[in-house]
């Protein structure tokens, strides 16, 4: 249900920075555009990103917060089952 993840990397700066933590809650509904989510990507592992599109099946497209992020195309479509949770709270280093 609830999860805590340590953020690695800088693609979510300024919203999240390397070393921050995120508290997540499992989603029982489709994700919404604009939400931060933690997903299990087939090739890239566990990612924290922002939802930019949701289709009728609950599959989503993701983006980072800056130009260092992998592109939407690189990350591809994420199935609903791959979503581990939405970010409830960001616990910043400072």
């Amino acid at each position: 249900m609830l999860g805590i993840y340590r953020v690695q990397g800088d693609s979510m700066v300024p919203v999240l920075s390397d070393g921050d933590f995120v508290l997540t809650l499992r989603l029982f509904r489709a994700a919404k555009v604009g939400e931060l989510v933690v997903v299990k990507h087939k090739a890239l592992g566990v990612l924290v990103k922002r939802v930019v599109a949701v289709d009728g099946n609950g599959s989503i497209l993701l983006r980072g917060e800056n130009t260092q992020s992998s592109s939407i195309e690189d990350m591809g479509r994420i199935e609903r089952a791959q979503i581990k949770g939405r970010v409830l709270r960001c616990i910043r280093r400072s």
Partner: protein, 166 residues
Amino acid sequence: MLHKILTSLDESIGFPSASAHCDVPCGIYDPSAAQVAALTVVRIADLIAELGAKDSLTMADQVRVARLASQKETHCGRVKDEIVIIWGDFLKAPQFENWGGCHDLVHRILMAGSKCRQGVSRDDAMALLGLVNEFAEGFWKAKGVATFTATCPYAPAESVVYPKLD
């Protein structure tokens, strides 16, 4: 405060990490580097063959053979590195779905590169070049760029697949 508590907990129990995945966003992928390296391997095979046709080798010739062998090793490795980078970093599931045989082609290129490292056969070098050209054709097709084949304007003057850019 809360971050400090979580950091302490993380050190003891270890939270899973979620990657804010970064790629250096250059986005520059081009098989031409692999093609030039493969052409170099062909050229080196020719130069070694020229030296091999001599009745005897001077000290300078022997040094040259050693240098050519070293460069062949380097460029075979370069072919493999360049192809693997494109295959691993650029190509993704959508491209693979439309490019049947890509994985097998990459594997054959890696094998052919190793074979060229082990010997001095021009035929092997040409086989490597042919496979790399095939990869280049598939790469540009995946990017929606048409290609054409032309003879490169320098030795070894072999056929190369180029992107057709307007």
